[in-house]
């Protein structure tokens, strides 16, 4: 079983850490897989254009260098930490109306995807590249921040297109997603080091094997754990952090332990 974090931002968008710093941060803590998913904002809206001008998003110009650094760091992450680094982006559609905003994690992609495409087409493009399409924070996070509620409002139409939905982002569990019966993952949406302590996904997959990792996500061969910095962990299970318990909900089972 490998501990993974599938939603992390670097200095290529609005994160505070560089990609090598992120690799070292997670690698030293025994994580088995991480996905770096910098914002890739749509270029047609004013908000998207502003993000590009302010350097808060990947652009067609910076994307090639981003991918090259991910490639070289992927090699280092494996050699140094036996950690799988998954290249990805967060396709970002922000509007003033939260109900029309949507963020989609595209994991395991290498080519540019236009963020202005409708969600169904975005998922198709992601799958064409052999990637995973994950709906990021699809319900209200309860924080004073941009909410992205469009995908959840269309979940009946979209449920067959997404491989998973975020059931937790940061320190909050999304009860609606948990109880929906939809496949899920949990991630930190980390922008800075202080956000490392958060919900993570523990995946039953072969370490370093991307195809097995994808299988485990699709088949929901995983569970969700809370990772707390500074808490003693079981070294045999590679830094699983503390386990916070939930009673059985729906058909999902959480491990009962402390």
């Amino acid at each position: 079983m490998i501990l993974s974090d599938l939603h992390i931002h670097s200095t290529f968008s609005d994160g505070k850490l560089t990609i090598p710093e992120i690799v070292d941060l997670y690698g030293r803590r025994g994580f088995g897989a991480i996905a770096i998913t910098d914002h890739l904002c749509e270029q047609v809206s004013i908000i998207g254009k502003a993000a590009a001008y302010l350097g808060r998003t990947l652009t067609p110009a910076t994307f090639p260098i981003y991918m090259e650094i991910l490639k070289s760091e992927r090699k280092r992450a494996w050699e140094q930490y036996r950690m799988l680094l998954i290249p990805g982006v967060e396709l970002t559609k922000n509007t003033i109306n939260n109900h029309r905003s949507a963020h989609i994690l595209a994991l395991g992609i290498e080519k540019w995807i236009d963020a202005s495409l409708p969600p169904v087409e975005s998922c198709a493009r992601i799958h064409e590249q052999g990637g995973l399409a994950i709906a990021a924070h699809p319900v209200s996070t309860g924080h004073f921040e941009k909410q992205t509620l469009f995908l959840w409002s269309q979940k009946e139409i979209l449920k067959d297109h997404f491989d998973a939905w975020e059931v937790a982002s940061g320190r909050k569990i999304f009860d609606e997603v948990l109880q929906s019966g939809l496949p899920f993952v949990a991630s930190s949406d980390m922008h800075k080091r202080e956000q490392l302590s958060s919900w993570k996904t523990a995946v039953h997959a072969e370490r370093g094997d991307w195809n097995d990792f994808k299988r485990a996500i699709k088949e929901q061969d995983l569970d969700v754990r809370y990772y707390q910095e500074g808490v003693a962990y079981d070294p045999v299970e590679h830094a699983m952090g503390s386990r916070i318990v939930f009673p059985t909900l729906g058909r999902r089972w959480f491990p009962r332990a402390v």
Binding site: F12, L54, P60, P64, I65, K71
Partner: protein, 363 residues
């Protein structure tokens, strides 16, 4: 506020560029100087090329090689290089003229010939119109460190033979020098392609020359990528001389339209605000506010004096021609900016290219 800002920049420029810390010289004697491969892309015989290249054969450095690259043995620079190689047989040199590979940036396409054949991991890319002192490599090597990804230099325009050359000089020695120093002091050091010292293994982490060769400003993008690796871009304490010679007004205008369009593509917001830093614009605004033309003259004179501080710090000789060139350059700066604003195509050594957003090239 603008006065203070430019004054501070001028003062810092004087402090930074002029100072030659004695302790560095003491430390330098203890330093290990790693071997360096110098890559020299050449295309035709530029003015003063022989004198420029000769300075690279006379460097005081324990171990280095020079790799020349050009399109073919029929390039006029080829015979000059062979002559110099004959005069300095003790200097390790090689010359490459094999067919270029398809890389949009013509300079990078030329560089590729030698880049993958270097003996050493530490590489210096140096333009053909650069003339250097004997301590050049030692000065650059001193800036290296475990957290330093690249070392670059401010460019000092020298040996202008025409008035247009003086315009070019003043552009480099005032506008660009101030901009580079200011950027360096706010932690956003810009890389200048005339001097780029780096480890190949660092550039390979960004995909190497083949990736940065898709940008018109390959130097800027190399620096951009290196900073995203968490490494520093260091600005050398010493400027490097670019010999200007017989520049025409057309050369001057084309070059700065090209550089301006690169800036526009890469930092559009900063580019839009550039006129607010132009003395002519600030001075006109000031005289409108105060309602008297003398304010314009006073402002411009103050800016000129601040720029003279920068020139002094760079050891540039101030002559009446330089002062006239300053006034002409400043008065034409807004017109140049307007021309840069309209259009995205550039003409570089006979290659017509389109600069797309972010500086990517379309040939």
């Amino acid at each position: 506020m603008c006065f203070q800002l430019w004054g501070v920049v001028g003062f810092l420029a004087r402090f930074r560029v002029k100072s030659t810390p004695k302790q560095n010289n003491l430390v330098a004697k203890e330093l290990y100087y790693p071997p360096i491969s110098i890559l020299k892309p050449l295309k035709g015989i530029d003015e003063n090329l022989e004198q420029n290249l000769r300075t690279f054969f006379e460097l005081d450095y324990p171990s280095y090689e020079i790799l020349f690259c050009m399109d073919s043995e029929f390039d006029h620079a080829y015979h000059l290089v062979q002559k110099l190689r004959g005069e300095y047989p003790h200097v390790l040199t090689r010359c490459f003229t094999d067919p270029a590979i398809e890389i949009p940036n013509p300079k990078v396409s030329n560089l590729w010939r030698s880049y993958h054949r270097t003996r050493y991991d530490l590489v210096l890319i140096s333009d053909s119109n650069v003339r250097v002192p004997v301590r050049y490599l030692k000065d650059l090597a001193q800036e290296l460190g475990p957290k330093v990804g690249m070392v670059t230099s401010i460019v000092r325009g020298t040996h202008a033979e025409t008035f247009a050359g003086e315009l070019e000089s003043i552009y480099l020695n005032a506008f660009y020098a101030k901009g580079m120093i200011l950027a360096d002091h706010v932690g956003k050091t810009c890389v200048v392609g005339k001097t780029m010292l780096f480890h190949k293994k660092t550039l390979e982490r960004l995909g190497g020359l083949k990736v940065i060769g898709h940008y018109l400003a390959e130097d800027y993008m190399a620096g951009f990528g290196i900073k995203h690796l968490g490494l520093e871009v260091k600005l050398s304490q010493k400027p490097v001389d670019q010999v200007i010679g017989h520049y025409t007004f057309k050369d001057f205008w084309k070059r700065h339209v090209r550089w301006g369009r690169i800036r526009k593509a890469q930092a559009p917001v900063a580019f839009l605000f550039e006129p607010l830093g132009q003395p002519i614009v600030i001075s006109i605004f000031g005289s409108l506010v105060w309602g008297h033309w003398s304010i314009w003259f006073l402002n411009m004179t103050t800016f000129m004096l601040l720029d003279l501080l920068v020139l002094r710090a760079e050891s540039v000789r101030v002559t009446p021609k330089v002062l006239v060139a300053w006034w002409v350059r400043e008065c034409s700066s807004f017109v140049l900016w307007m021309h840069t604003l309209i259009g995205n195509s550039v003409d570089w050594r006979g290659n017509k290219m389109k600069v797309t957003k972010g500086g990517l090239l379309e040939v």
